[in-house]
Homo-oligomer: 260 residues x 2
């Protein structure tokens, strides 16, 4: 088995940067559970850098380049705080968005989600609640950021994300194929008591600023998650749930109602 | 205003460790929003280390010691990656658990939640859904770990946590005042379609291992969050929602049903 060269280390670590991921159309995924799952998914794994233990115990297609490396070499290429046996270099899947992918479906729309952990969690939630497509504003964190990849816990292979200019998309969507566009807003209607459609868009706003001004005109249905708190916070300022938590509660209620 | 001495730096940073927090019965909280909220809460703030800007613009009771410090000094005492104007040293509140605190209520029970971020998120969820009391196993992450404090976003002042030997507690509770004990388990009943009580306990298991063997005998009602995923994961292994997300979905459904 070949030994890891300086150029290889440089190549793999360069993929932590969006610029190089876009240039190469490659991303990295790590850890035993994650990589085993990707090997069985539609994601194309190109290279495996792993300990002898992983290589010995994992079925790997013969067209995947493999490199047996030591723990200390793994540390040099890993993007994780505690590397775990394997780093895989994978192809970024080529996907083209078509309007029919969202027409009869419930679709999540991420409006500037910035935190990679939140982003990964939201993709996992989409997977759990059977939401196949997520549309992201151009300012939303890159799906192939290693922290997002890891936080998806494998859901990255099962949910399709598209980055686009959202106001342009909604403008077109409104003209051609109007579907309800739900947005969580403070003044929204109680999520529990109002009816919810089986298809349409659920817009999740930025962690600090909520839904952008430029998207507000496209929200057709304002919803809110009722608080049962016994307290008012300082200066009447509203508490909030984080973006991932709000997404989970909203998706859960949509699916509960649609399963009645 | 006094200047920060080496001993003070040592004192404040020592509070990142549980041992010293217990010795001193003090903890640290940081950042403008958090500290302003604590100043207006029942939490007793003892010392404020802050920039001149914060001290100038914030109402601080005269019995709180205050130290004006520079940004670089703030970095030396902060537990955060990006410190934000102020570090406060606060008293750990003295609270004694009494059974009546949970008798007519919905109470969360954390069985070895380890991740400080999850822990903080769960406290925030409890606050939102009006759950006043959380019981924690002795192995659950310390509430006053600075990462937990920050992740609660102020909810730390509004929710009461008690650490205890949970099997002993449930054994006693079962004998004296039986209430339903809900646990999220794979084989549980669909959360949406079954009835849910207005009081009782919701047990949230460890991130990797779920609910402990020693608590399973006390679970009276097994529940599960239905998955709507279009996919099966590798080797039939169940996907999962993370502990915080599962807590949010469960609490939401309890409160929705109780508000009908």
């Amino acid at each position: 088995m070949p030994v890891l060269s300086k150029n290889q280390i440089k190549f793999v670590t360069s993929l932590k940067q969006k610029k190089f991921r876009e240039e190469q159309q490659l991303f990295i995924a790590e850890g035993v559970k994650m990589v085993k799952e990707l090997l069985q998914s539609t994601i194309q794994v190109k290279q495996i850098y792993a300990t002898s233990e992983f290589l010995r115990t994992t079925k790997i297609d013969s067209d995947i380049e493999r490199f047996e490396i030591k723990e200390n070499e793994l540390e040099r290429i890993s993007a994780l705080y505690t590397p775990n046996e394997v780093v895989a270099v994978c192809q970024i899947p080529e996907k083209t968005f078509e309007a029919k992918k969202v027409s009869g479906q419930l679709t999540l729309v991420l409006d500037e989600i910035k935190d990679p952990g939140n982003m990964g969690t939201i993709i996992r939630i989409a997977d759990w609640f059977g939401i196949q497509t997520i549309l992201c504003s151009l300012q939303t964190t890159d799906l192939f950021n290693p922290k997002v990849v890891q936080a998806t816990m494998g859901s990255i292979a099962r949910v399709d994300l598209y980055y686009m200019d959202l106001p342009i998309f909604f403008n077109q969507q409104k003209a051609e194929n109007p579907l309800p566009v739900y947005g969580a807003l403070l003044e929204g209607e109680n999520l529990y008591s109002r009816s919810l459609s089986k298809n349409g868009f659920i817009v999740i706003g930025n962690e600090s600023n909520g839904i952008s001004e430029s998207l507000l005109p496209y929200i057709t249905d304002k919803i809110s998650i009722p608080s049962f708190s016994h307290f008012k916070t300082t200066a009447g300022e509203a508490e909030s749930l984080n973006a991932g938590i709000a997404t989970a509660v909203i998706c859960s209620e949509f699916r509960r109602k649609s399963s009645l």
